[in-house]
């Protein structure tokens, strides 16, 4: 006799314990500390902070540890925590031009004021597994640099702007406060500020694929990486009681400025247009993909065809968030047996009707139709009834 499933609560509590054990692995091995994760997996921490929309390397490391290394789960944990945080205020805009840089490259000029600074990058590593890391070792000390990096470097797009070869990056009239997508629903038409905010916390993989699609011909894009920079920027808060802004901390940022050719139209002369990417931490792949997709979403306003998937603003913004996507995809794990029953009933009825029609049309075939409904299990089949 069927008994309604009971004991779900105990099963849930047990699953917590099993998950804990799974996450911890072999207890004979030392447990990971948050400091180890933060210091030795900085790129994982960067991604979790960026998509979690919360700059806190310590909590991001905790989320990664709790999520057993699952980045999207870690992003989810950080976001849920973020909801409970009070807003003390808004910082003044971060000046990426004044960033203390660790890396800065331009692919549009051989040399630029401030120079090309390769910095810590995987770009020119030969992707050979380094077996010396198996045992663990300390990095070799860096030889002292011949000249120190300048304290700040001008943006490459600023040089183009001086010649009016790239569209101006003007502050919109009245300098409106940007929307906060974590407090207000996304509405359309979505301003560029709202779009960029959506992209900044969007899934890296989604942006990578969509950006890639614009390069392969789904979208008319001829981008150049005018500049990519990674470094630390000061964050300042304007304190009303003091009457001036004070530095409250420093964050690592990766910024990418793409420029794309624009052939011009009746109103505007030909010039380069911009795509912009800015991400917490160190993540050039995401910053570049963001810049590509930002530019792709500007196609309609620039009078381009705008018929590729990456040009579709609604499509892009509604499907970029991995916490939303992951939740909804995985909600298929939840019971759906009420809806399924409704579908099953309809399917049986439609099949029954079709069998009836076929049997009437070709009586000789009716024999072969029989085994589909075993006579041993008479089905109490739901019937459609008109409501009184």
């Amino acid at each position: 006799m069927y008994v309604a499933v009971k004991g779900g609560e105990r099963a849930i509590l047990n699953s917590y314990q099993m998950l804990d054990a799974y996450r911890r692995g072999d207890t004979a091995l030392p447990e990971l500390t948050l400091a180890q994760i933060r210091e030795q997996m900085p790129l994982a921490v960067s991604r979790v902070m960026a998509e979690g929309s919360l700059y806190d390397p310590h909590l991001a490391a905790l989320a990664l540890k709790q999520a057993a290394g699952d980045q999207i789960e870690a992003v989810f944990l950080l976001r849920a925590y973020r909801t409970t945080l009070a807003r003390f205020g808004y910082t003044v805009p971060v000046d990426t031009g004044a960033m203390r840089l660790q890396r800065r490259i331009s692919s549009t000029f051989k040399d630029v004021p401030g120079g090309q600074v390769l910095g810590p990058t995987y770009d020119y590593t030969q992707r050979l597994l380094d077996f010396s890391l198996e045992a663990g070792r300390d990095p070799a000390p860096l030889p002292p640099s011949a000249e120190p990096l300048p304290a700040s470097m001008p943006r490459v797009t600023g040089l183009l702007e001086a010649e009016q070869l790239v569209e101006a990056d003007e502050i919109p009239a009245g300098d409106p406060a940007p929307p906060d997508l974590t407090r207000e629903p996304l509405t359309f038409p979505a301003s560029r500020a709202a779009r960029l905010q959506n992209l900044a916390r969007a899934d890296e993989g989604f942006l990578l694929s969509m950006g890639y699609s614009t390069q392969r011909g789904y979208g008319n894009s001829h981008p150049f990486a005018a500049e990519i920079r990674f470094g630390s920027a000061e964050v300042e808060l304007f304190v009303e009681e003091l009457g001036f802004a004070v530095t409250i901390g420093e964050i690592e940022l990766t910024e990418c400025q793409m420029v794309s050719q624009f052939t011009g139209n009746a109103d505007e002369a030909p010039r380069f247009t911009r795509g912009y990417g800015l991400v917490f931490g160190y993540n050039e792949r995401k910053a570049m993909s963001m810049a590509l997709t930002d530019r792709a979403m500007r196609a309609a306003e620039l009078g381009e065809a705008a018929d590729a998937p990456a040009n579709d603003i609604e499509f892009m913004l509604y499907h970029s968030d991995n916490v939303e996507a992951s939740g909804f995809v995985q909600h298929l794990k939840l019971p759906h047996y009420v809806d399924f029953q409704a579908n099953l009933e309809l399917l049986r009825r439609l099949r029954g009707e079709q069998e009836g029609t076929n049997a009437a049309a070709a009586p000789a075939d009716s024999q072969s139709m029989q085994p589909m409904q075993p006579a041993s299990h008479p089905q109490p089949r739901p019937q459609e009834e008109t409501l009184a």
Binding site: E9, T83, V323, H336, Q341, P380
Partner: protein, 300 residues
Amino acid sequence: MTAANASAATGIARDEHYNFAYLDESTKRMLRRALLKAVAIPGYQVPFGSREMPLPYGWGTGGIQVTAAIIGKPDMLKVIDQGSDDTTNAINIRRFFGRVTGVQTTEHTAEATIIQTRHRIPETPLRAGQTMVFQVPIPEPLRWLEPSETETRTMHALSEYGAMHVKLYEDIAHHGHIATTYDYPVIVNQRYMMRPSPIPKFDNPKLDRSPALMLFGAGREKRVYAVPPYTSVKSLDFADHPFTVEKWTSCCAQCGATDSYLDEIITDDAGTRMFVCSDTEYCADRRAGQAVKHAAGGAR
């Protein structure tokens, strides 16, 4: 459960680390404003600043935010999923509210002041003063006909619902009847087309002129909407193809109910099946009632 009328209310201590009902008060106020607007315009989808909750999107975050916005200390909460109080997601949401509010929870429909649900409306008739909170995955009834939100909002503004009638007509032309079995579209208060969340169409008539307040929350899609008490909710149909609901030739194998929505259970490898009430509380209640009657009969 020993007797049909015994209270099944339980409560657990509130976790003081979190604000009452998890959300901060200004967020709750924002939600209540959206809900007031939703009640004022029955069936209209009101955008709201959906928050990231500690449960996944698609698992009831909209319903959870609505419940969090309206729940108070004296409330009695019931949570069901697929009609059952015992499915893991229902248990999890009930545990969440127990932890962050400390309010009493119950499995008894009649006892509850707030009933959060996924995919069903209880069989026990609702009464005035009760609030149903529905978890909604996709709030837009026109979504499969028109993927763009900008377009569908315009269609609602203009009451341009012909496309849905055409879809239902095509069903009839292809299959002989309408092939939508759940999330069956309705017109609320003779104005807005509304998706009743994926309840089976069996439950649609329970929405019509219900004495209870019906609130719908879609967290991922950031929309709330509502059906106020005693509001007309009409399932779409045609004069020659009136709206119909499922009716089973058998009764519930456990309680013998003939008026409830039945789930099909496969009981062995040979495909033997039985049908039981999807609403576990209704089923248990009826069985308890029968046991009492039986015991009284035996004593006599």
